[in-house]
Symmetry: C2
Subunit: 248 residues, 2 copies
């Protein structure tokens, strides 16, 4: 499933990321430089494993469309979902900077990925300092999200934690314009449980409490946020900083 043919189809001028208001627009000169680095595209169906822990993959990807998640597993199968990935996110950087990936990535919905060669990374730092800066910015932003997840799993109760997670996914998805047309967040309760560090049964009961509070509605294969204010209030989370983020 990692062997999907790589072909270039979308030109960078028509990149779907250009239309997402949450992303800081690229200058034309930057875009043309990026387009020289772009190797091609890759698609992955929902449920596919895009990157595998322990592998030393040769590519760096930027997500053009779709949902996915990063995770690690223990030997006996316990799985921790670390974070979710959205259009504009860069994945595979670990495999490019270090020798191998320390986590895996799986598609939640069909993914379209923009492919770069990991060997171009030093070139990017030498020739495109602004893009290198953006890349570091994105990595620092990932750290901010992980910090909040860790605070959540370590200190918040099941109800607080679940409210936080749903609000987090809602904010990120909305920023990426992925909830237009009443679309819901495409996760199973097992995904949420593995993110929260809770059992699936308790996750279910906690979600029902939030549904009774009219904070969300569970639909087949996903959930829809009805009242983000309640979720933020329950979790005591302030929400993501409203920064225009760069992309590559």
């Amino acid at each position: 499933m990692n062997e999907v043919p790589i072909t270039q189809r979308i030109e960078c001028e028509n990149c779907p990321l250009n239309d997402i208001p949450h992303l800081r627009p690229l200058e034309d000169s930057q875009r043309s430089l990026i387009s020289t680095l772009k190797t091609g595209e890759m698609t992955a169906p929902a449920g596919a494993t895009v990157l595998v822990e322990g592998s030393g993959n040769a590519y760096l990807f930027s997500i053009l469309s779709g949902w996915g998640f990063r995770y690690k597993t223990l030997d006996d199968g316990r799985r921790q979902i670390l974070n979710y990935v959205f259009p504009g996110d860069v994945i595979g950087l670990q495999g490019s900077l270090m020798d191998e990936m320390q986590h895996s990535i799986e598609a939640l919905s069909p993914l379209v990925l923009c492919v770069f060669q990991k060997t171009d990374l030093p070139k990017l730092f030498s020739n495109l300092p602004q893009l290198a800066y953006d890349l570091t910015w994105l990595t620092a932003r990932e750290e901010i999200m992980l910090d909040e997840h860790l605070l959540s799993v370590g200190q918040r109760s099941a109800l607080e934690r679940t409210a936080y997670l749903i609000a987090f996914l809602h904010q990120r998805a909305r920023a990426a314009r992925m909830l237009e047309g009443q679309k819901s967040i495409p996760v199973t309760q097992q995904h949420l449980a593995d993110t929260l560090g809770l059992s699936i049964v308790h996750t279910n009961k906690t979600l029902r409490r939030l549904a009774i509070l009219k904070a969300l509605r569970w639909e087949k294969g996903g959930c829809t946020v009805l009242d983000e204010t309640i979720l933020l209030h329950i979790s005591g989370w302030e929400g993501l900083p409203a920064l225009k983020r760069p992309y590559i």
Copy 2:
């Protein structure tokens, strides 16, 4: 306590970091360039808060000596320790890249910090691509550690988690040459509890179990690892990748 006088005392050629074998040595040209960016030094006594969540600090620091930790708190006082910082680590990058810090940093032992101006960061990316690359490398490494912490807090049992944390601190401290002369890890059980997401009482009982297994010994104000193999075995952790890491 954030107002310790800033003065330059140590020349970069005599930087204590040069002597730590775990760090990839700088080339002379790099070191001289860094020395032009170095603004001075700052010291902080044990227990001092070096950086505060929500502040937009003007500096970027590299740790020359001492132990510290990063943490976040909830409104009602619950605290989650996110990670520990060691000599060679860079802190304050969030305040430099974004508007403000999303976490605080406190000194566990007296800290000596090397101070850089945050406004020099774009200059560093433009003029010193290798150092910018190293900075990104360090950020990616921080992400790897956070991923493992999250896996730990989310999925591992109290015993597994505690074993992991002690082994982790031991490996990092040893790499930084901070355990020479029978020195122990200078944390209280409250620190460990706040890292593990456990109560202090249960942390105490779990540490005693590990002590009975002869994996560690608790001493006044810290712990000493007696048998790292046991800790790794209990936690099912493979240890930190043995990479020579860069520093700035």
